[in-house]
Structures are given as structure tokens and as C-alpha cells.
Amino acid sequence: MPRPLWSGSLSFGLVNVPVALFSAVRDMDIHFNQLHARDASPIETRRVCSADGQEVQWDQIAKGYELEDGRWVLLNDEDLAAAAPHKSQTIDVECFVRECEIDPVYYDRPYVLSPRDEAAARAYTLLGEGMAKSGRVALGRFVMHAKEHLVSIRPRGAVLTLTTVRFAEEVRSREEIAEAVAAGAEPSSEQIENAAAIIAELEVSFDPSRYKDEHRAHLQRIIKRKQKGQKIVAPKVQEEPKVVASSAPDLMGALQESLARIRGEAAVGGDAKRKPARRRSKAAVQGATRVRRQS
């Protein structure tokens, strides 16, 4: 079991459940080290005091905040803990909402909440079951890493997941973008219908296990080849499909042509007519993609 990132209590009503917080995601990225090109030795980052040029140990580094008059205020972790002691120790559930009301743009990082022991597991499980039955997720807030987090808590199988939710001020206005969008020509209903038909043809159930990080695998192969001293050559650039259209009059043609090809391929796939979209086999869906790339 990994070390918890935070521990405290989860509080709803008068119930307080001792909980620990773990990351729900793990880093699978390929990480590179910085090396000195000349001798291939690792680069170390040293923290140096600008006043005396001496190296500074981590425990001698404070958090500095610059005041308007140019003076610096130095804070340490204990100072910050004093800012909101209750919030740093308790996830306070404020209300329950429907999950579909939270736009995914607001979601930040996911975590797993775990009860700290068997005694705590009872109230924890009860909260999870209650939310599952009523179709609600909990909204609460707490302080972690010197930042207040709005969070949504919901059951996922037998565990409760906690996802930090951005504050409204952290989500940018898209007024200018909406204006740029609205400046374009109004699409015809025929265009929209064709595009909607393409979407319907390419619809599948969301299956996350279908998608693998191909770039990561590719990079691993390149590293292996390089390790063996082989030369890395760029693959031939794929030819762009001939029917490339983003504006009228080709746009309508591209929409219709896409639809015809996807439908043609789906029919060859066999099961498209019986259960359109949802039950289409992976092969049929990939087939549709293949057609586009070959064209």
C-alpha cells in the first residue's frame, strides 16, 4: 500500500470518518534525465543562495511572498498550516449534487479515499451506498498542499473517489472564442444532418481499455533500437487524404463522401445493420478509420 498523500477526516452531518487520501492515477510517462552532452554524466540541480553563492539545503528554503513595496515575507509550512487548521484536517461535505451538473471542464485531479481502519469503513461504506442509491455525489472542500480544494466524492465500485473540482475563477472565460465561432457562416441543416449521421455511424460504447498509449510504446522501441546502436529513421510521411475539405463547396462533398465510405465499410463488417453503432465490432470501427487513411 502506498503512503497516503493526506490523512484527516471526512465529515458529513455530524459523522466524522477517519480517512486517508491516495492518488487515483500513476505516472506511466517515459521520463528522461538531463545529461551533460560532453561526458554523459547526470545533471544535478543545486539550489544556491544568490547573496553568498553557497548551496542551500532544502530545509533552509522558505516560501517567499513579495509585497507591493518590494519587501519579502517568508513563510514556512507551519505558518501555512495555521491559516486554516480545521480545513487542513477535515474534508467537509457541504451538499450533494447530481454528477451530470458538474461540467468535466471543472474536474482536476482524481484521488481515492480510504477509511483508516475497519471501524471507519462502516460509515464510509454507508455514505457510498447512500450516494449510489440516491444518484448524488458529495461536494466538499478541504486544504491540501497549501491550497483549498473543492472536491466531489462519489462511489466507484466499493471505494470512494475524490476528484478536485476547479473554482469558477480558475476556468477561463470563453467569450472571445464564442465570438470567433459565431462569426463563421451558419451551417445548413443538410450539413449538420450529414455530420450527425457520421457521428451516429462511428458511435461505440466507451471502453477505456481499447486505447493504448501508442506514442509511449513507439518511444520505448526507439530507445531499444538506439541502445543497440541502430540508426533511428523517420517513417515516410503519410499522404494526406485527397478529399480534404474544411470549407464550402468541398465541405458538403467531404461529409457525404465520409458517410458513404463509413456506411459501405460498416455493411461489409456485417453486423452494422443488425445493431447499428453501439454494437459495432471493433474491426468495423477500425475499418472505417482505415478507409479514411487510405483514401
Binding site: L14, R46, L75, I102, K133, V143, E169, I177, I222, S258
Partner: protein
């Protein structure tokens, strides 16, 4: 307000249609930015890159990227070789599938970006936007950005297309990797009913604007106190209460909530969370999903 700077220019591939788009960050951090200072003399801290062997500072142009294949053994990749890994489709968001939004577990969502139409892409953008809105579906595609491949969800907000990067399935920690303690005894029906009653009482409508980061103000107040030379006392550690009887505490919570509600004014008598005035609003009329979907969305 100026148009946010675009981070990336590329194309959404969707059927045979290519939609030129620009990518803009949809979110920004508002946390108080601290800088590292030396605790002893308050001087700025500099980061220096030093060669482990020569013990000398190394200029940036002499630094390369190496992957550690065994302890102390590195394979160096040049920028060009890294670009090869990105592949030929590096500037294309390839949308292969469309799914229903409610099928996507929010745990997969990562960073959000607004898409604006790129050069000559206005018409195709609006067609795609209208079709996504009409079908209520989310396009699932992939693209490479900053030497990393991302799974992406492309979806329509009421006035723009938003793209959200998503985690791959193997990036999600499985339950078996976390040994979460299980309750020895199952909850009784009465306990479950009581818990649901409490959830009902605290029912609210999610309105992003109702939540403000109040902690930031508290940190700012702390900074001001410290600037005046005041001492900051360490906080007392709160005691965790162990629940002897879960059902009793649940009932007390409901009673307490009811009492607060009765004390409240008539206009407050709806389903409003009791103790935190900013937490929600009466939700006596429950809007339909379509209505809610139309109203949501960032910024």
C-alpha cells in the same frame, strides 16, 4: 478581454472532414505564487545545473535528454529522434469514435482546452459543433502534444467546442493496488435509509460561481500578519471522533439540520445546506437533464 493565446494549431480529423483548430487553455491556476527564498538571509534562491562529474555549472545548450536503461547507463535521444516518436500525424486530433458523455468515468478527465476555429476552418467548425450539440455525443480521439500522446474527448459546450485530454486506462490505479479496509458488518436498511435522508436534506444544485477559494484570503491575511512581525501560533490538532453508534449520529445530523431549517426565514426554507451559505441553493424545482446540460459549461 483579448482572445487567450493559442497553444497549438492543428486539425481535427473527423470522417473525411478536416477542421483547422487552435487550442487554448481553458483553465488557469489562481493559487498564491510563492518564490523560494533562503530562510537565513531572505535572499533569492537560484537553480544551477551542475555536471555530477565535473562539479561545474553546465550551460543549457550542453544538456541532452537521456533515458536510464540500467543504473547509471543512459540512452541519449536527440530532439530529432524524439520528434520521430511523435509520428507523422503530430498535428492532427484523430477522432475515431463517438460515445455518450455519461459513459465516461470522470476519473479519466485531465486538462481542458477550448478550441477556436483555425484559418479557413470557420464553417467546418460550426458544422462539427452543431452536430455534436444535436447528437449530444463526445468524440474520442488522440493527439500528440509536448512529446506525449493524449487521449482526448471532444465535446460541444453551448457556444464552443472543448477538448479534454484523458488518461489511458493503465494510468488509473486499480482497487487491488490499494488495500482499502472493508466494513466487517453490512449496513442495515435503517442505517441506509437514514443516510439517504441526510443526503436528501443536503441536496443542492451545483453552481460553480457559488464556490470561492476562501483559503487564499486566509493565507493573504497570514502574510499581512507576518509582514507586521506578528508571531504565528501553530494550530492545535483536531481530535477525530469515533462513532460509537453510527445511526444515532446520522439521526442527530438530520435533527440538527431540521432545526436550522426551521430557524431560517421562509425564503430559506427550501433544500439549502445548513451551515454554509454559499454551498447551494434551493432545488425544489428539479430541472430536466436537457435544461441542465444547456446551462452548464465553463466560464
Amino acid at each position: 478581454m483579448p482572445m487567450p493565446r493559442s497553444l497549438w494549431n492543428g486539425t481535427i480529423a473527423f470522417g473525411l472532414v478536416r477542421v483547422p483548430v487552435k487550442l487554448h487553455s481553458a483553465t488557469e491556476s489562481k493559487r498564491i505564487a510563492f518564490k523560494e527564498r533562503h530562510a537565513l538571509d531572505g535572499a533569492a534562491i537560484e537553480h544551477r545545473r551542475v555536471c555530477a562529474k565535473e562539479r561545474k555549472e553546465v550551460p543549457y545548450e550542453e544538456i541532452v535528454k537521456g533515458y536510464e536503461v540500467a543504473s547509471g547507463e543512459y540512452v541519449v535521444l536527440s530532439k530529432e529522434e524524439l520528434a520521430i516518436a511523435d509520428g507523422a500525424q503530430a498535428r492532427v486530433i484523430d477522432v475515431d469514435h463517438f460515445v455518450a458523455e455519461e459513459e465516461i468515468d470522470p476519473i479519466f478527465y485531465e486538462r481542458a482546452y477550448y478550441l477556436s476555429p483555425g484559418r479557413l476552418g470557420e464553417e467546418a467548425y460550426r458544422v462539427m459543433h452543431a452536430a455534436l450539440l444535436r447528437t449530444g455525443r463526445v468524440g474520442i480521439g488522440r493527439f500528440v502534444f509536448h512529446n506525449k500522446e493524449h487521449l482526448a474527448a471532444v465535446r460541444a459546450l453551448e457556444d464552443a467546442i472543448v477538448m479534454q485530454t484523458m488518461r489511458f486506462a493503465d494510468e488509473i490505479v486499480s482497487d487491488s493496488q490499494l488495500d482499502v479496509p472493508r466494513a466487517a458488518k453490512k449496513a442495515t436498511k435503517l442505517e441506509l435509509d437514514t443516510a439517504q435522508l441526510l443526503i436528501d436534506q443536503l441536496d443542492a444544485k451545483y453552481e460553480p460561481d457559488r464556490y470561492q477559494d476562501r483559503y487564499r484570503d486566509e493565507v493573504m491575511a497570514l502574510i499581512e500578519r507576518k509582514a507586521r512581525g506578528e508571531a504565528i501560533e501553530p494550530p492545535e490538532r483536531a481530535l477525530l471522533t469515533r462513532e460509537a453508534d453510527l445511526l444515532d449520529v446520522l439521526k442527530q445530523s438530520i435533527e440538527q439540520h431540521g432545526a436550522r431549517k426551521r430557524r431560517g426565514s421562509r425564503s430559506n426554507a427550501g433544500k439549502r445546506p445548513p451551515s454554509k451559505p454559499s454551498a447551494g441553493e434551493p432545488s425544489a424545482s428539479k430541472p430536466t437533464k436537457a435544461k441542465r446540460t444547456a446551462k452548464r459549461g465553463g466560464g
